[in-house]
């Protein structure tokens, strides 16, 4: 039983980490990013090739890939983000969905559909606390999710950029009137979210394996976690991750593994209806920028 809880919590940390970036992009910017899964997929491939060709450990390459992703979105992809921010949410769904299709099949063309994974020293390491077992790699994911939560939380709360981001989230028009360059904020936040996602992707590699269509299942979970925890609420995302992680572990154990998705989809709809702002989002925020 305790083992079950631990596994659930660790899984939750993993989910939280992959959702953190989406929380900035969807939760804060209200950009419905259906390519989130593909962002993860791409970064996993980057990490994989870094390992394959240069023997760079995923844990190290993650620290390279994330900044690169950030730069990419700040510069090359900037006009695209601006365009995205101005389209309706349906437009966003399909622009990002289209990008998803393209990325997925580019990966297929370039790398074939083979399953690729790395075999690092630690990816098999176990830590045992008496009865309870857990894998080092997952533990790392878990701890990093905590670190990111705290860091991001204080960044958004204290730093100037963080404040402007929150202001823009609250009311774009007013933020504009207050002389905030909302466009810059959008691009920055999006790039930040993408970078965090890329980081998470790199960390996933030692635990999972990468293939072109791996993204979808992660993306769906990320959306659920973000909404469950509350849009724009960083701690919320962490808790949301835990809830989904535990739900999955427990319902899988006590009901049936084939039912666990059913269970968390139901929870998802219930939360949406009963508390659309999510568990930790401030009430009403879900209406912002949404008709």
């Amino acid at each position: 039983m305790s083992q079950l809880l631990v596994t659930g919590i660790l899984l939750g940390g993993l989910y939280a980490l992959i959702s953190m970036g989406l929380n900035l992009i969807f939760g804060v910017l209200r950009i419905v990013n259906f390519a989130h899964g593909e962002f993860i997929m791409v970064s996993m491939y980057l990490a994989y090739w870094a390992y394959y060709y240069y023997k760079i450990d995923p844990y190290i390459s993650a620290f390279v890939i994330a900044p690169l992703t950030f730069l990419f979105f700040m510069t090359v992809a900037k006009p695209f983000i601006v365009k995205l921010a101005d389209s309706s949410h349906l437009g966003q769904v399909f622009i990002t969905f289209g990008i998803g299709i393209v990325l997925q099949n580019l990966a297929l063309m370039l790398f074939s559909a083979d399953y690729r994974s790395v075999d690092t020293v630690y990816s098999k390491m176990q830590i045992a606390l008496g009865e309870i077992q857990f894998s080092l790699a997952r533990m790392v994911m878990f701890l990093l999710s905590l670190v990111f939560t705290v860091a991001l939380y204080y960044y958004l709360k204290k730093s100037y950029m963080g404040k402007t981001i929150r202001a823009t989230m609250q009311n774009r028009t007013v933020a504009m009137l207050m002389g905030i360059d909302t466009q810059k904020v959008y691009v920055f936040t999006f790039a930040l979210g993408a970078a965090i996602t890329a980081f998470a992707g790199g960390l996933l590699l030692p635990i999972f394996y990468v293939y072109p269509t791996i993204g979808f299942s992660f993306a769906l979970i990320a959306f659920i976690v973000v909404i469950l925890g509350g849009l724009g609420s960083i701690p919320g995302t962490l808790i949301g991750g835990f809830i989904i992680g535990l739900t999955e572990a427990l319902s899988g154990y006590f009901i049936s593994a084939s039912m666990k998705q059913l269970v968390y989809f139901c929870i998802f709809i219930l939360i949406l209806v009963l508390r659309p702002a999510g568990l930790f989002g401030q009430r009403g925020t879900e209406e912002l920028g949404v008709k």
Partner: protein, 341 residues
């Protein structure tokens, strides 16, 4: 006056040609593959306009319509396989069931707006898919159901594609007429009012709950009937083909490309995207795996990013698609809470 004028527009020469052309071509050209494409084209165009009744007119952007599609397919097929009920009857049974489920879903998710409603419909579709897999005593689960090829009108199975062409066409015209009705009726106007501003609509005496549920029921029911058609045409259904999220997205994509909330838009969307996808698939089928989808994705991106009102916005001044596809948050003042409270 205005009325007749709008009706004239709905059945202008160009449109009549558009609506009849593929059917005629398919009848004239005895080319089974071309006919096959035309049938699928009409199928998905119709599905798109059925979606558009809810997504376009009422502004309820569902991305879970594949659930209704699948419910239709499974209801008629199961009735046919187990109790040899003619799919013609099963079709309406499915429509009814889908409409009911739609109403239930609609009333649960009533408070949800924008992306939240969309995501809830996505989740709903996934739930239905999972159930269809795990309730295998009823649905045969993932193994799917093969419908035995035994031609016969009552069985809704035909040896000549001509029959399918005509049926698909009748569906398309029927749904188009429903869309025209929406565009020129009390219900339609009330839905559009609701779409534009729920408060204004209520202040004008519109019971937004009931009009919305009506839209859901009609849209879901029609989509389900198309599910039956699909099943009877392909003669094989399984969860992965009728409940898969790609269907939902395809349906919305067509409307988006053609022009949301317009009568002809979704159909035009189907005319463009279905052949395009098929052309790329067969032209690049020999190329590197995935290539044709990359191209398809790019085309889709271009159209959506640079023609937010859909192709119809070229045709009509009055396709609010353009105004819709601007981010509402931009005009916060009009969507704020009631009054200045």
């Amino acid at each position: 006056m205005t009325m007749q004028r709008s009706l004239k527009r709905e059945f202008s020469l160009v449109r009549i040609v558009l609506l009849v052309l593929p059917m005629l071509l398919a009848l004239i050209i005895p080319n089974a593959f071309f006919r096959d494409i035309v049938i699928l084209l009409m199928l998905w165009s119709t599905a798109a306009s059925a979606w558009n009744l809810l997504g376009g007119f009422a502004g309820q952007l569902s991305i879970g319509h594949t659930a209704f599609f699948g419910i239709g397919a499974y209801t008629s097929t199961l009735l046919y396989i187990n109790f040899s009920v003619s799919p013609w009857i099963g079709m309406f049974a499915g429509a009814l069931l889908a409409a009911l489920i739609g109403v239930v879903l609609g009333s649960i998710t009533f408070p949800l707006k924008g992306p939240f409603f969309s995501l809830s419909t996505l989740a709903f579709a996934e739930i239905v898919r999972i159930i269809s897999i795990s309730w295998s005593d009823l649905t045969k689960g993932s193994r799917g159901i093969v419908i035995k090829y035994t031609p016969g009108f009552d069985k809704f199975i035909f040896d000549s594609p001509v029959a399918y062409i005509l049926i698909a066409w009748v569906f398309m015209i029927a749904v188009y007429c429903v869309a025209v009705y929406f565009n020129n009726s009390r219900l339609g106007f009330y839905l559009m009012a609701y779409r534009e501003s729920e408060d204004a609509a209520r202040a004008l005496g519109i019971n937004t709950v009931t009009v919305r549920l009506k839209a859901v029921a009609i849209s879901a029911g029609l989509t389900a009937m198309l599910g039956t058609f699909y099943a009877q045409y392909i003669l094989f259904i399984d969860p992965e083909s009728v409940f898969i999220v790609d269907n939902s997205l395809q349906i919305v994509l067509l409307s988006l490309v053609g022009g949301i909330g317009t009568t002809i838009g979704p159909i035009i969307g189907g005319y463009i995207m279905v052949p395009l996808g098929q052309f790329l698939r067969s032209a690049l089928g020999d190329a590197v795996p995935g290539f044709h989808l990359v191209i398809y994705g790019l085309c889709m991106l271009l159209i959506i990013m640079y023609l937010p009102g859909g192709l119809v916005s070229l045709l009509q001044r009055r396709s609010f698609g353009g105004s819709r596809l601007k981010r509402p948050g931009r005009r916060r003042d009009e969507h704020g809470a009631v009054g200045n409270s």
